[in-house]
C-alpha cells in the first residue's frame, strides 16, 4: 500500500493536485489540498488526517521564521502543527535550510555557465522564510536586495545586508509572529489577484529573482526579459506566465513530480515519511544523505 503524504495548504484550492511516485522502492501518494485561506478548516483537516497518513506538510504558512540563529514561532503555524498528535507535521523549514543552500551552491559551481556568482545582482523577495537560501546567496558573493519589507507591507525600503535583516527581525518578530498569518502572507484568494507592478524597479535591477513564488507573483512586472527565477512551488500555468513575460531561466529547488514542482513542505513531508522518524529526530545530514540517494537536484528550465 502506498504511503500517503498530504500537504494542507492555506493557499487556493485551484492549485490542488495529486501524484503517485516511487522513491527508494517505496510507493507514495502525494496530494495537496488548498484551504482557500481558512485556517479553521485547515486545523480540522489536520485533525482528521492525524494518524491516517505518513506525514503532513503545512503549505502557505510557516511554523518558524529564522534569522541568524534566532527562531521566531508563528502563533498560527504552531496551532496547526499542534492539531496533529501522531502524524509528523512539517512546514518545509528543515528542508529549506539544506536543499535551498545546496541549490544555490549548485547554480554557482556546478552549472555551466554559472547562473549565480559574485557579479550577479539578486532580488530575494523575502528572506525570513528561507534564511538558508539568503545566507547561501551572500556566501556565493552575490549582491542581494532582501525585499522582506517591500513584499510583506509594500514599503519601498530594500534591505541590503543579513545583519540589518536580522536586526529588524529581532525588533519586530516577537510581536508580529502573534498576528494572524493572513496579514503577513497572501493566502487564499489573495494569491489569485493580478500582479501589481509598482515595485518593477527592484526586478529590473536584478538578474536573479529568488524566493517564494506567491511573493514574486504579487509584484511581478509585465516584462522580465532575461531574468532567472529561483523559486519552488510553481504550476504549469505559472511557467507559461513567466515565459510570456520574457524570463530566461526557471530554477526550482525541488524536483518536478508529474510536471510540477511541489513546495518544500511537501518534499520535507515526503522525506520524513521515507525516514519514518519524527522531524525533531532528523538532522540536516540525514536530509543531505537522503537527497543525494534520491538524486534530487534543482530543476533548471530554459524559458526563452
Amino acid at each position: 500500500m502506498a504511503g500517503k503524504v498530504v500537504s494542507v495548504s492555506l493557499g487556493s484550492s485551484r492549485r490542488d493536485d495529486r501524484v503517485e511516485a516511487t522513491f527508494l522502492g517505496k510507493a507514495f501518494e502525494i496530494s495537496r489540498v488548498g484551504m482557500d485561506g481558512d485556517i479553521d478548516r485547515a486545523e480540522k483537516m489536520i485533525r482528521e488526517l492525524d494518524g491516517k497518513v505518513a506525514a503532513i506538510g503545512l503549505g502557505g504558512i510557516d511554523i518558524n521564521l529564522v534569522a541568524k540563529g534566532e527562531r521566531y514561532v508563528l502563533r498560527d503555524g504552531l496551532r496547526l502543527k499542534e492539531a496533529a498528535r501522531v502524524t509528523p507535521v512539517v512546514d518545509g523549514g528543515g528542508l529549506k535550510d539544506t536543499l535551498e543552500r545546496e541549490a544555490v551552491r549548485h547554480l554557482a559551481a556546478r552549472v555551466t555557465p554559472p547562473l549565480l556568482g559574485p557579479p550577479t545582482p539578486v532580488l530575494m523577495v523575502c528572506a525570513l522564510d528561507r534564511f538558508g537560501m539568503a545566507e547561501a546567496l551572500v556566501e556565493a558573493g552575490c549582491p542581494v536586495v532582501f525585499g522582506d519589507l517591500i513584499f510583506t507591507m509594500g514599503m519601498s525600503y530594500p534591505i541590503r545586508s543579513l545583519e540589518e535583516l536580522a536586526g529588524l527581525a529581532k525588533r519586530l518578530l516577537p510581536e508580529m509572529a502573534k498576528l494572524p498569518f493572513n496579514l503577513l502572507y497572501p493566502t487564499g484568494k489573495e494569491q489569485e489577484k493580478p500582479s501589481d507592478d509598482r515595485f518593477s524597479a527592484y526586478f529590473q535591477e536584478a538578474t536573479v529573482v529568488a524566493g517564494d513564488y506567491h511573493y514574486i507573483r504579487k509584484y511581478l512586472p509585465p516584462e522580465i526579459t532575461g531574468k532567472t527565477i529561483l523559486t519552488q512551488t510553481i504550476t504549469a500555468a505559472d511557467v507559461e506566465d513567466l515565459r510570456r513575460r520574457g524570463a530566461a531561466w526557471l530554477v526550482t529547488t525541488t524536483p518536478a513530480l508529474g510536471g510540477r514542482s511541489y513546495a518544500t513542505n511537501v518534499m520535507e513531508a515526503l522525506l520524513v515519511a521515507i525516514l519514518g522518524k519524527q522531524p525533531e529526530e532528523i538532522a540536516a545530514d540525514d536530509y543531505f544523505f537522503l537527497l543525494r540517494q534520491l538524486g534530487f537536484v534543482p530543476r533548471i528550465e530554459k524559458l526563452n
Binding site: R171, P180, N182
Partner: protein, 117 residues
C-alpha cells in the same frame, strides 16, 4: 480611564519618537496616510498625518482618513506611549484598526520600530 490630555501626550510622545528616528522617516517616505484616532470614552478625535516621511498631529482635522484606530482611552494611551504592544489588544478586539492589510501591518511596524516589543 485616561484623560484627554494623557491621550494627547501619548500621541505627541509617539510623534516625537517617530521624528527622532531618521531611518523610520526614510522607510515611510512615499507612504502618505491620514490616520484618525477615535477614543471611545472621549468625544475628542485626533489625527496623525504622515506626509513625505514626516509625522504631525492634528486635532479637529477635516481630512478624510485612510485608516481609523479605535479603542478606549487606556488602550490608546498605553499603545501610543509604548507601554502596551498593539498586537494583544488588536487580537482581543480591544483595539480596532480599519484600513488595507498592508496599511495595518505598516502601522504595527512603525509602532514596533519606535517602542519595540
Amino acid at each position: 480611564m485616561a484623560t484627554v490630555e494623557e491621550v494627547r501626550e501619548s500621541l505627541r510622545a509617539f510623534q516625537t519618537n517617530y521624528l527622532g528616528n531618521t531611518r523610520l522617516q526614510e522607510m515611510n517616505r512615499g507612504w502618505d496616510r491620514v490616520i484618525r484616532i477615535e477614543v471611545e470614552d472621549h468625544p475628542d478625535v485626533f489625527t496623525l498625518i504622515l506626509e513625505n516621511g514626516e509625522l504631525r498631529l492634528e486635532e479637529q482635522s477635516g481630512r478624510k482618513p485612510h485608516m481609523v484606530v479605535r479603542g478606549d482611552s487606556e488602550i490608546v494611551t498605553g499603545v501610543f506611549f509604548g507601554e502596551l504592544a498593539p498586537t494583544e489588544p488588536y487580537l482581543k478586539g480591544e483595539l480596532t484598526v480599519s484600513g488595507s492589510q498592508e496599511d495595518v501591518l505598516r502601522l504595527d511596524f512603525i509602532s514596533l520600530m519606535i517602542w519595540g516589543a
